[in-house]
Amino acid sequence: MADLKALNGFVDKLKSENPDWVVDTVEALGELTVFVDAKNIVAVCEILKDQHDFDMLADLCGGDRGPEDDPRFEINYHLFSTIHYHRLRLKVLLSEDEPNVPTVTGIWKTADWHERETYDLLGVIFDDHPDLRRILLPSDFDGHALRKDYPLRGYEPYSLT
């Protein structure tokens, strides 16, 4: 589906702009993943949007690798272009002690709800987000449900009554 050669071209341009931006790249199953440091994510996204036509953030989702892993959390940014139809995945790794990443709501408005969902379910903090509240779970919910150490049925005793 995706043209890896063209995608690698975007990564090369990113590297020539600032070599620190691209930590690592992984090619697998026709998709390209670019690892980016949390502090650089806004700058990288801005360049990709303004200069390389990645004008849509198709998806933003987080993942938990498990409590014993460090870095524990990963945030995936699935970028898409409505002009050249390429897709690119940016990945930010976060440790459990400092699960903070700057928000990209200033670049794509759609990041608003995606970031709220990730905060809600994983407890990742998006710095400078305009309205970082829980979205799917009630505001008095205890814990973050998608973390691997959160039990499937929650902490409260299970009862049907």
Binding site: G63, T82, Y85, K109, L137, A145, L146
Partner: protein
Amino acid sequence: MSVAVDNLTDPADILDDSLESQMTISMGPQHPSTHGVLRLELILDGELVVKTVPDIGYLHTGMEKLFEYKKYQQGIVITDRMDYLNPLGNNLAYVMAAEKLLEIEIPERAQVIRVLMCELQRIASHMVWLGTHALDIGAMSVFFFCFRQREKILNLIEAASGGRMTPSYFRIGGLMMDLPAGFERRCKQFLDGFPDAMDMFETLVSGNTLFQSRTKGIGIISKEDAISWGLTGPCLRGSGVELDLRKHNPYTGYETYDFNIPVEDGCDVWARFKVRMRELYESEKIVKQALERLEPGPTKADAPKVVLPDRDDMRKHMDSLIHHFLIVAEGFNVPEGEVYLPIEASKGELGVYMKSNGGPKPDRVHFRGPSFVNLSALPDMVEGELIADVVAVIGSLDIVLGEIDR
């Protein structure tokens, strides 16, 4: 006596204040026009909407958590319950993500049947949209005519899979089973009656001046905003962006079918309405082409460790029985990796992010539901509109809460 009267505020002042002050109204979660359990907090100035805050999560059932505790093939039935108007689309995205991780090739016949069923499902989904959208605006009878057409499609899906709303028809590596005898004839019967039904809808709804005046110029979202909000599907095409993943990121052989992408640049409810109406004709075209392409052949991939064997094989071959036992009891291991697989569902881009650790259960499954993203743009669309138009805009977004809340 006179002192007491002096202390009173002038009644005219009270009246003026109440007219000028803003009022907060909670719409839903049980409001019929919110298409499920969506709650909107509307801040109104008179009848004008100043601000809208959608409140979702009433239907949250932790499906993404549940995927992590189920084997890959068990996850398919969960996807049925997300966008319950387009379950085959959800099945397709999920199984295609797993197939991509497993690097399995699907036989030609299975691909054609997938396209055929998905387009039938798209028509059924759009029928519900048309019926409820018209109902929200006040046209009651359209709803019944739409559901009559939808019922015919649900009967077809039931004939193929055994389930009306929860088919789980697509499996990892192919289909649950081949189409039943006589399916093509029944499908053609449906197609024969469909143009007449469409003519009726065009007369009843599209040609209705009341409907037009309720939808034209309402809920405007510009092309740039639509892209920034991540709108996809008919909502994006109603804002003048030609983007259809069936053409631009093709899957299951959609690139070989002949169909057009309807685009309107009105950016309003009426434009989104027209896009979906024109899409119905395109889906009908694809269904016809797929029917012509149906050639006899296998419907399951040649991957015995992943695909359940036929019952007949199990009675005759020892290894089939062993494979069946292992797949059901232990599942199959999926190679380590991660994929993001987008398809064009009836409501927009349905993306599945799937990450495998190498075991029989996924490490993470995330559904990017088109309804979730499209709804997030609602506050932008209804700002400054009349409160009565909010239901028209919600109808034009075609949301399903099962997919938003997951």
